[in-house]
């Protein structure tokens, strides 16, 4: 029944999906946290940059961003991410860059909502004992904020996992690209679609369950 799978590296394609997701997740968590810090910082220029970035980037369709990284950054401006002679590596790095740029906007907003759950008194107390802004944020506010936003971040992570399929648009050999290739060759649209849908459920369902459990355990009881 599943003989159409023969000759295709389905696991390899999903491994590419996992790599794209993992690298983009780490990158967007870092960049998103920085953006969130900017948005709550006392410096108007930083606040303005953070707000502008989030509102612009999250309103651009991801496909446009990903295709731009390849057609615009690489082809026109020559940004090849240190892989000018290898389109496979170049496409992968450009895609990760695009996913980080896009997902960070959502991570930023999730974290900012978490910061809003931390009572104002916490920051006031921190200031009272002489901590500056960055110390207050790093030591007092963000640790509590993160524990409050594990569930929203899990949503962002699951969305990111599925969004990696857009990388097929610039030829990164992940699951969606293999799916197109198989549908092109095999004329078995439904069965192939089902296999790849199942693959994504296998990737995302445990993520959701694990992070949901973590969120319950780590939530700050107020």
């Amino acid at each position: 029944m599943f003989d159409f799978l023969e000759g295709y590296d389905v696991l390899g394609a999903f491994w590419m999906t996992v790599k794209l997701t993992a690298l983009s997740a780490v990158g967007s968590l870092i960049w998103g946290t920085l953006l969130a810090a900017m948005r709550v910082s006392p410096v108007p220029l930083m606040r303005g940059f953070g707000t502008a970035y989030v509102n612009i980037v999250r309103n651009i369709p991801l496909t446009v961003i990903i295709v731009f990284t390849s057609l615009g950054l690489a082809d026109i401006f020559g940004v090849t991410m240190g892989a000018a002679d290898n389109f496979d590596v170049q496409g992968f790095r450009l895609a990760v860059l695009g996913f980080i740029a896009y997902t960070a906007a959502f991570v930023c907003e999730a974290i900012r909502s978490g910061i809003n759950t931390v009572p104002l008194g916490q920051a006031e107390a921190a200031r009272a004992i002489g901590l500056n802004f960055s110390q207050t944020l790093r030591l007092i506010v963000l640790p509590q904020a993160f524990r409050a936003v594990i569930n929203p971040l899990a949503n962002v992570l699951i969305a990111l996992t599925k969004n990696t399929t857009v990388a097929a648009a610039i030829g990164v050999a992940e699951a969606a690209l293999l799916m197109k290739e198989m549908i092109e060759n095999e004329a078995q649209t439904l069965a192939i679609g089902a296999v790849f849908a199942l693959g994504f459920v296998v990737l995302t369902l445990p993520t959701g369950l694990l992070l949901g459990w973590l969120a319950k355990r780590l939530a700050v009881k107020r």
Partner: protein
Amino acid sequence: MKLRKVTAASAAVLALALSATACGGDSKDDSSSSGSGGGGKIKIGIKYDQPGLGLKEPDGSFSGFDVDVATYVAKQLGYDADQIEFVETKSADRENALARGDVKIIAATYSITDERKQKVDFAGPYLLAHQDLLVKKDSKISEATDLNGEKLCSVTGSTSAQNVKDDFAPKAQLKQYGGYSECIAGLQSGAVDAVTTDDSILAGFASQDKYKGQFKLAGLKLSNENYGIGVKKGDSATLNKVNAALEKMVSDGSWQKAVDENFGPADYKNEPAPKVGVIVK
């Protein structure tokens, strides 16, 4: 708390049920309106995004070789041009569109292959295309082996891309995009050295006004693509009528006229009209 859970669950069930019935209703409407056929309209599947073959123009009209063939065939089946309803059939959806009865026939760069023949019947072939390369006018690439080390572009998952990787030039740098327009843009800007797919498709792109005179076909015959007209499996009445229509189109000269009109400006050397039922391997 318990009450809230029950409410949430029942809301979810309700939403599911609603969406399920909505889908069911839609598809039933589609099939009944096209299935009855006969007097009213004929639905024909084409591509909307391939200049020279099947293209939806900004004003809503359709142009291209596939469109011309489909219009001619529909005429022979007893439908005037205003009785034709063109439906977009993307590559991945062609078999299902026929099986569901969404369209009566499909003329959309549909290469006849053994795998597909298990799902649909093919009339024709009506055009023999070859995988080829589109290069800049002054390019030195003239053989498939020249591609090694060069940058080549094709569309994600397409057979052409796989052929190059597997057979012709394993050392070529292959860039894959979601559509051919991105590849052509890359070729124009110099980011890639060649674009590969069926010569008919490449000729269609190169014939567009904005690209006229910039590109040429390398003229390689890297594969044989026999374009057929897809008909629902087992619908031999339609199949025979379409075949008869295709034969007539060739014999009365309309076929050559359609080829010249649609691929002319790209210096495309077409194969002679294929004979119905003869598939060039």
